[in-house]
Symmetry: C2
Subunit: 334 residues, 2 copies
């Protein structure tokens, strides 16, 4: 143990607008010692997620803000080095909110064991983890897609969006994906069987959506917000369901944005718009993971990962989310 | 019959922005003759409702636009003069979409008989009719108010708003009403037991709402939209429910309005926003009328009516809705 050196990535200042490298600092730290019932873990993969931007600001959100000058917490996968809990033993692969550090200590209730023989361990942070469950419950529970309906997905090539698109196809829907570059759209169309895609950076989004949705929009799974949503709203059908999963287009704005009022569209179409966060569905996670795992085993579900190597590159990987650099789940291999 | 003269009010041009008197014309017409299974009715009261503004435009809404140069249709109460249906007989008081005319003919399936001995007949257009049912199902089914929660009602002194406020109090909630003049607010506070009221024309609405809702907003029943809604959104609580019933502040705008984006508030608070129209609940109308009638009989529910005399004053009464002239249900006595 004496030879091990810990490193941590701290948030040292809150981003004003877009996050920058100077908001983060990598520091040396001691390797923590597990107490009774605790487990020492070596980090293998870090999850890099858009929602973490919200925690970097000092405003009300669904999770409290990160503290300044403390290690950034976030989903991760690790290997158990030492266990003072009967529930885990050295060599176990686990996932939990371990944080951006090489070594961490966690309580047994904060960890979930991963079976590395059933699927690649990284799926625990993607298709079989938070993003997959977010897609599953958001689309099926709030969206209630019916055979033949049209689903529009913003952020379609992201960790959540790629799964939403595929569940939409499994449910027999016409799926229209909106993403930020042509390579992503090629992937969506040719690998994930998405019916139509739109590059919001180069297309006339309103016109392209009208053409891609000749029968209107029944379900809108919104990861992005902003101008893409402005273009979707006039196309919604009677009884449409709009799932608010993320608003990444707005996260780095310093002032609240203005846009066309959406209430008239919701009113006239008796439509529903609902925000959610995945922890609302904690009691049904086993159902979600079970179904996603089954689709994965049956080859009905594919997943994409964008893995950046090197612990110290985590801040850069995080910034890349807002530049739309990732296809699928963004991970950092430690 | 030969002595009877019919008059009709036609929509002769679509309003550009706010409706004006020149959009309407009163014409003489023949008294229609009932065919087999039809009923001839003499109109007693006309209902004047904000939603009718939507039908005057040539845009997509939940009901088709009025045709130009035809009689305006709308809810009304009348007396049966002649019946070629076994379901009705002369002297019966009925309600239906009779239109702005002195005499009309309707099929028996288009009429509902009113018992004039159980409540004043005008209640069939108000507290025991469409506005009451709108308040009842919107607040209870979508809003799901719980004891001790805070409800904000915009358009609180209107036909729907006055009932929403009172049902909120019956359900044990703190009710905050927003209306456009102090007399209305006095009525809400002193007659309907509303906890706090705000005059949106004279108050700093944001500040006033913050003070009136120290524990945030759990349910927002929105009849108005626009700036009042902008002020409510930042105050919504986790799991808030927002009922979109009307957007009268926007009905007369010639271009879609812009405002602060609301999706971030809905997302962060996992809140729900839902539009509805009352006909979605047609299968449950008997339940609603039953409960509203019981509250009325028990003295738990009051209702206000603003009755203008004279058939030819219907257009003026309609314009008055947008000037906020009515306290409670706006009716025209023919």
């Amino acid at each position: 143990m004496a030879a091990m050196k810990n490193k941590q990535i701290l948030l040292i200042s809150r981003p004003a607008g877009s996050p920058i490298m100077a908001n983060f600092r990598i520091v040396d730290a001691d390797v923590p010692q597990p107490g009774d019932g605790e487990i020492l873990i070596r980090t293998l993969y870090l999850s890099v997620d858009p929602y973490m931007r919200g925690r970097m600001s000092d405003r009300k959100s669904y999770v409290p803000p990160f503290a300044l000058n403390e290690v950034i917490t976030g989903g991760a996968i690790g290997e158990v080095l030492e266990s003072r809990s009967k529930a885990f033993e050295p060599g176990d692969i686990v996932t939990g909110m371990l944080g951006w550090q090489l070594y961490s200590v966690a309580k047994e209730t904060e960890l979930r064991k991963i079976d590395p023989t059933s699927a690649p361990v990284t799926t625990a942070l993607g298709v079989l983890g938070m993003p997959g469950l977010t897609a599953y419950f958001g689309l099926l529970d709030i969206g209630q897609p019916k055979d033949g309906e049209t689903i529009v997905v913003s952020g379609a090539a992201g960790a959540v969006g790629t799964i939403v698109c595929q569940i939409g196809k499994i449910k027999g829907c016409r799926v229209v994906g909106v993403a930020g570059n042509d390579e992503k759209n090629q992937y969506l169309e040719h690998q994930l069987w998405v019916d139509e895609t739109i590059n919001y950076k180069t297309a006339d989004v309103k016109q392209a959506l009208r053409e891609a949705c000749p029968e209107g929009v029944d379900v809108y799974f919104d990861n992005v917000g902003g101008a893409v949503s402005d273009a979707v709203m006039p196309l919604i059908n009677k009884g449409a369901r709009i799932i608010l999963c993320g608003q990444i287009a707005l996260y780095n704005l310093e002032k609240p944005d203005v846009g066309p009022r959406i209430q008239p569209y919701l009113l006239v179409n008796r439509a529903l718009m609902k925000g959610f966060i995945i922890t609302d569905y904690a009691a049904r996670f086993a159902e979600g993971v079970g179904q996603l795992g089954q689709w994965l085993a049956q080859g009905k579900l594919k997943y994409a990962e964008n893995i950046i190597e090197g612990f110290e590159n985590a801040p850069q990987a995080f910034l890349g989310l807002f530049a739309g650099e990732n296809l699928g789940k963004q991970l950092v291999k430690v």
